[in-house]
């Protein structure tokens, strides 16, 4: 039977841990609400943007703009979005497991988030850039990342740009997904309800199609990356909240078990003491 003082010490330390995880859970919960709101707010916008892109894609030929041209894929650039901090359950592990399956030789990586960067360095992958972002990044900040990727694609250094990030499904579920973004193909923009109203219609471009494509296509890319990073942030905070909640629950369970043990030990020592006293009395009598 363990020493009562040891058990008391353990109860105290577990209670301390529970307090910390509880606090982290509260913080993550409030950050999660903000991050989810930010991620959801952009949805109508990207919906319309996607719809426009799908109809545009039907109208112009592939050679109309360099961002539309599919080249034979020799090199892929993957933007790896992870969190900076740990303690968010299996979120990063799941994303990195996905990253580990990618072909080492034919893939260049751009990391956003310390966890991803240290994974790439540890496993000796080809990391060409590492960007750090604050908790709630602005469009301008993520644009620096997307611009870097865009330039790599346009210069011909890579033939495809994809983003690997934890997609926010709901508070309990985050799914790592690899989404190809460049070249912009029908598949890139697909998956959104496409009505055929615009198909075959004669579109007017003002000032002309080149100018409009030049503005819309890079913007589409920048905005999609921005949206994905916001999504990853919402995932991170949700995962952290859930992980911290289960940590707090576990700690509470542990305290309960330890308290039971402590009481047993206390009772046993009292019984022994009583026995000793009675024995001594009987011996004297």
């Amino acid at each position: 039977m363990a020493n009562t003082r040891d058990i008391r010490r353990r109860i105290k330390s577990v209670k301390n841990t529970a307090q910390i995880t509880k606090a982290m859970q509260m913080v993550a919960a409030s950050k999660m609400r903000k991050a989810q709101q930010a991620a959801l707010a952009g949805h109508p916008y990207s919906e319309v943007l996607n719809r426009v892109l799908v109809s545009l894609r039907d109208l112009v030929s592939e050679s109309a703009h360099p961002l539309l041209v599919a080249r034979p894929v020799k090199k892929t650039l993957v933007l790896l979005v992870t969190s900076d901090k740990g303690l968010c359950g299996a979120l990063n592990t799941n994303v990195l497991r996905e990253a580990a399956t990618l072909d080492v030789g034919a893939t260049d990586f751009v990391a956003s988030g310390k966890k991803g960067a240290s994974f790439l360095a540890r496993t000796g992958r080809n990391m060409i850039a590492d960007f750090s972002l604050p908790d709630s990044p602005s469009f301008l900040q993520t644009k620096a990342i997307s611009k870097f990727c865009l330039e790599k694609f346009l210069s011909g250094e890579v033939d495809r740009v994809s983003v690997l990030y934890p997609k926010f499904v709901n508070t309990l579920t985050q799914k790592p997904v690899l989404v190809p973004l460049l070249p912009i193909s029908k598949e890139t923009a697909a998956g959104h309800d496409h009505d055929d109203k615009s198909a075959g219609a004669q579109f007017l471009f003002e000032p002309d199609s080149d100018e409009v494509l030049n503005a819309v296509l890079p913007y589409y890319f920048h905005f999609t990356v921005f949206q994905m990073i916001l999504d990853a942030r919402a995932s991170e905070q949700s995962a952290r909240m859930v992980a911290m909640k289960s940590a707090t629950d576990n700690a509470k369970g542990l305290v309960k078990d330890l308290t039971l043990e402590y009481n047993k030990a206390r009772q046993a020592s009292i019984t022994t003491e009583l026995l000793e006293i009675t024995t001594a009395q009987m011996a004297l009598a």
Binding site: P44, E47, V48, V52, K143, S198, L204, F205, E206, P207
Partner: protein, 136 residues
């Protein structure tokens, strides 16, 4: 009277979605008025004033730069800012204009940052324009 479905979205929210009789948008090549059954059109828009008419009357919005897609029965406006006339804070807009002008004059901004400050200056000017014109 025929109507078209107008949708105005910004990265932050869906500002307006509903039926309108006419829309006037600040395009890069000047103002464009759109009635139902307009030819399909795709263009960029500049910061400025957007007007649309519904049975309740005429509405004014200050919009930032973005894109416009016109289909015969639908108009989609994607912009980085859309503020209704009533919501514009004239004083705040004036301050923003002054601040942006000062930054451009004093700091040696370049590239992205300069473009960003210039864009926000144009947006604030558009807000002031919308707010003030409705007074005369």
């Amino acid at each position: 009277m025929a109507t078209l479905h107008l949708e105005i979205v910004t990265p932050e929210a869906r500002t307006f979605s509903g039926e309108a009789q006419m829309v006037v948008v600040p395009g890069v090549e000047g103002e464009i008025g759109i009635l139902p059954d307009h030819m399909p059109l795709m263009t960029q828009i500049n910061p400025g004033e957007l007007r649309y008419t519904t049975p309740e009357g005429e509405h004014f919005l200050a919009v930032g730069s973005g894109f416009l897609e016109v289909l015969p029965d639908r108009v989609s406006v994607m912009t980085d800012m859309a503020v209704a006339e009533a919501e514009i804070d004239e004083k705040a807009a004036e301050e923003a204009v002054a601040r942006a002008r000062k930054e451009i004059a004093e700091k040696a901004l370049a590239g992205e940052e300069l473009a960003f400050v210039q864009a926000s200056l144009l947006k604030s000017l558009a807000q002031l324009h919308v707010k003030r014109r409705s007074r005369h």
